[in-house]
Symmetry: C2
DNA sequence: AGATCGATTTACGTAAAAGTCAATTTTTGC
DNA sequence: GCAAAAATTGACTTTTACGTAAATCGATCT
């Protein structure tokens, strides 16, 4: 059986974030762990959601953007105008991400150059001394 | 012949940034445009550098990180310890970027799902009304 | 010269995403 | 059932990357 509950510190250790961060995400409405008294009890679903949030964070999504995506899963908007607007936004986000992916590939290539420059320099110095 | 100089507003229009941003980059030592009196004159090399800076920015590099990469091109550090440290950092950055690229691919796939959810919902509503 | 219009400088302000600190409260280990 | 450890809350602070406002400068047109 999968674990029923995770404590907050358990998750902070697993994901390398602080308790403050997880509480902040709760305040922002991204997660809603259960409570026993005041203590938060994180279910596997909460844990999975945190993973997604952190992934979004790594690629530069704002909290608001992440919240919006989560919302769509919970319940897609009921109004046609809203839906179309959302789809346009999703499309724009995809373009942005494709651009970002290209930026990353270009930068990876550039870092290869930086490394080479370093190796060259190292050889120069190594030889000279 | 390539243009000799660009004005600051010319570049802000081309890249969609404010003059404040370009001056900020100069204050931070990322670019050093020429001067005629107090007015900045941007050469093609400055323009190219700005492109790189903005690319770095898009993928989430901090100003400090961008400055560091630029530095290496201008003159790789002369001390072995420094060089090795830098190479380690470059290696870490590359890992980070590869992770980010994976995050982006996962998120692109997820956005496909979001779009599908929207289409489904649209069909439901469209039929119902 | 005067007017105008962009560019500069200086200083202060701001927003997002947490970090930090201090004062409780809860839970637990025994 | 009580002390120690863990968790919570609220307020305040920090950092990054600019935005904004006000005053000044400088070039150019007429």
């Amino acid at each position: 059986m999968v674990k029923k509950y995770y404590s907050i510190t358990e998750l902070t250790r697993e994901f390398g974030v602080s308790t403050r961060t997880l509480r902040f995400y709760e305040d922002e409405g991204l997660i809603q762990p259960e409570r026993r008294g005041r203590t938060r009890l994180f279910r596997p679903a909460d844990r999975a959601l945190i993973q997604e949030i952190l992934r979004g964070r790594r690629i530069g999504f704002t909290i608001a953007e992440i919240r919006e995506i989560i919302q769509v899963y919970k319940e897609p908007p009921g109004e046609i105008g809203q839906l179309k607007l959302l789809m346009k936004r999703v499309d724009e986000k995809r373009d942005e991400l494709r651009q970002k992916r290209k930026d990353i590939e270009d930068t990876l290539a550039e870092l290869d150059n930086v490394e080479e420059a370093c190796l060259t320099r190292l050889a120069e110095i190594g030889v000279g001394t």
